[in-house]
């Protein structure tokens, strides 16, 4: 019933802690213009625009997609806004793809962005609720007890987080758009990085970034006539669960497992670790790499950390994870999910430049948000299913 669709263009901004050189509209257009150029189309060729970003208090503009209609030349077109917390970049790409899969539009532009230097991100992430007890300091304070839980149950040695951090920061040096370019990390140096929320070290945390990512998605009919490489969307999946309930499994949430199971089933994948060439997964704190390897069904339970230690997830390994440097090197919250989805597309389109995985044919994009409760994934490939 659903049409096939493909990503035909990808564009992103140079991500940085503060893009004072552009307005919010300028930031968005930088990514959009690059995506349009990459797709070799003009802005008037776009039928509809699907925008995603995280909470509006991060910039102080309510429902900015309304104001951005002008910057996006959207007069007379549909503009749609998605907001699913941290996973929003991913779910936005899925909603955009579904507009094409449903046969409603032939060319959809989708963009995820955040200009969080305009506000105070730490405040926006920890606004205290009246009658409650304000205890944790931002996202790290929320997730570090969960990381502690993983370390205890898996028996992982304490240097694994630092290993992932070094890998991601080193990978980012091959990505001209990444926010952090820190070429000199070694494991020894990383293990000296101060503890922020024990057991998470400073080097194991993501930065706060300004940035945007845009994709152009076309129907099969149009994509077939389109010269240039494409990332065919084989499958999409989303799952959610409540933030907290008695007995909730926090380390490997069931919603994440089910999202991946759904994706593999729809995409005809029976052995993810063998059949997927590269994965861009949402790792804002380094320890989430081994945790998500297990949650997504790549590695067996409690074994994810061994894959890290064995170099499986390095660029030269058998399942490279986050060759772009990942969320660990660039994190504009509203864009991060789309960066994962877009980097996966770039891999199978052969457009990842220095961080290209040779021969990548199938790639996964993954995003999560909230209290590890909202999950979005897509499977893309250089050929049709």
């Amino acid at each position: 019933m659903a049409d096939l669709c493909a990503v035909v263009g990808v564009g992103q901004t140079k991500h940085a802690s503060c893009r004072a050189d552009v307005s919010i509209a300028g930031l968005v257009r930088e990514a959009v213009d690059r995506a349009l150029a990459d797709a070799n189309i003009g802005i008037d060729d776009v039928d509809a625009i699907v925008i995603g970003k995280a909470p509006d208090p991060l910039e102080g503009v309510a429902m900015p997609e309304l104001w951005l209609a002008d910057a996006l030349a959207a007069h007379g077109k549909p503009v749609f806004r998605v907001h699913t917390a941290g996973s929003v970049g991913g779910s936005t790409a899925i909603v955009a793809a579904q507009h094409v899969m449903a046969g409603i539009h032939g060319t959809v532009l989708t963009v995820g962005f955040e200009k969080q230097s305009d506000g105070n991100a730490m405040w926006a992430l920890s606004v205290p609720i009246p009658f409650g007890m304000p205890v944790h300091a931002g996202a790290g304070g929320y997730f570090s007890p969960i990381v502690r839980g993983y370390i205890k149950r898996s028996g992982a040695p304490s240097h694994i987080g630092a290993m992932v951090a070094v890998k991601d920061r080193t990978n980012a040096c091959k990505n001209p758009y990444a926010h952090l370019h820190e070429p000199d990390w070694t494991l020894e140096k990383a293990l000296e990085s101060p503890m922020m929320w024990d057991p998470i070290r400073f080097v194991e945390t993501c930065p706060s970034s300004d940035g945007a990512m845009a994709l152009v998605i076309m129907s099969e009919e149009r994509a077939d006539k389109h010269a240039g490489p494409k990332a065919w969307v084989h499958a999409t999946a989303m799952r959610s669960e409540p933030t907290a309930f008695a007995g909730r499994e926090q380390v490997s949430p069931r919603a994440g497992e089910m999202c991946a199971e759904d994706l593999w089933r729809k995409g005809g994948i029976t052995n993810p670790a063998k059949e997927v060439d590269v994965a861009e997964i949402y790792v804002p704190f380094a320890w989430f790499e081994p945790m998500w390897l297990e949650n997504l069904g790549f590695a067996p339970r409690n074994e994810g950390w061994r894959w890290v230690e064995d170099g499986v997830t390095d660029i030269g390994g058998s399942l490279p994870i986050n060759p772009s440097g990942g969320v660990m090197s660039t994190n504009p919250i509203g864009a991060s999910g789309m960066l994962r989805f877009g980097e996966a597309a770039m891999q199978v389109m052969g457009k990842a430049g220095e961080h290209q995985i040779d021969g990548a044919r199938k790639a996964v994009g993954h995003a999560y948000g909230g209290g590890s409760q909202f999950f979005a994934m897509w499977l893309v490939s250089s050929s049709k299913p």
Binding site: L66, H83, M101, R254, G370
Partner: protein, 352 residues
Amino acid sequence: MPRRDVAIVATAQRPNEVGSTLTSVELILPVINDVIAKVGIERQKIGFWCHGSCDYMSGQPFSFVAAVDAIGAWPPIVESHVEGDGALALYEAWVKIQTGECDVALVFSNGKTTSGPIDRILNLQADPYVVTPLWPGFDSLAALQARACLDAGVLTEADMAEVAARSYRDALNNPIAYAKENVTAEQLLARPYTTAPLRAHDCGVPVDGANAIILAAGDAARSLAERPAWIRGIDHRIDTQRLGARSMTESSSAAIAAVKAGVGDDRIDIAELHAPYTHQEILLRRAMNLGEGTHVNPSGGALVSNPAMAAGLARFAEAAESVFSGSADRVLAHCTSGPMLQQNLVCVMEGE
């Protein structure tokens, strides 16, 4: 024509009130349970849930996350959220069903519009560099538009008062509506201006409310409702937000959406227009070419009861209910967003 026939099969709304002391979760939970009970479906059979709300109105970043507590998301569900009116969440659900990924979807929205200064909050929707710092106020922007319409001779203050009087009287029959009064246009015209040329009754009353709607495709819809309200066409468009860059006496995005939704293909019995200002109802009628035979807002509309972020979905609920009851065969539901009718969603529904 859309590829799949999708219909609204049930709706639930909460009687609107002012100064609610319930949390948003406590507002939402009963309407969700209510709408599910109306069709008797098992929760697990709902293939997609979608929510419309706005963080700035709730006063908290990530405010929608708490709403997941109200829908029993265990085992995990397929769920999404739009930062906007529930009517847009309905659109996302409709798209999802069109892909064939699911057959039944539940959409819901909530707005505790009276917990914060809504006029001030909606200021934040504007250009952050050159408009918001002036803090014009949402009512003031609407007033600018009304003044432009009056000066152009597109409508008169008496026309506006007539819309209000009709709405307040019709609301007497609507248990959901908050404001209601047996009043004439002449009486209303005698009342003072609040933001000239607008009077209090020309502006939608901010209220707290929540609602939920169940959509279903094809045979699933027929099994859940006796007389589903079939969505024949649905479309949304946006205009420039730049003040002065477009005519204030018309809404071209509403006109385009109406054409795409097939409004003009046949008569419309009832049109539930999301018009938070009296003059905007008149502009929307004109933009969509609604004739004299169309009964506009028998519910009283957003004028008498405006739970921001739920007011558009309320129009869908009211329109669908009129199909369910047999009092209408072909209806229109509309939702607007942004200042001066900037963005508009139009939907045409029919009973079989």
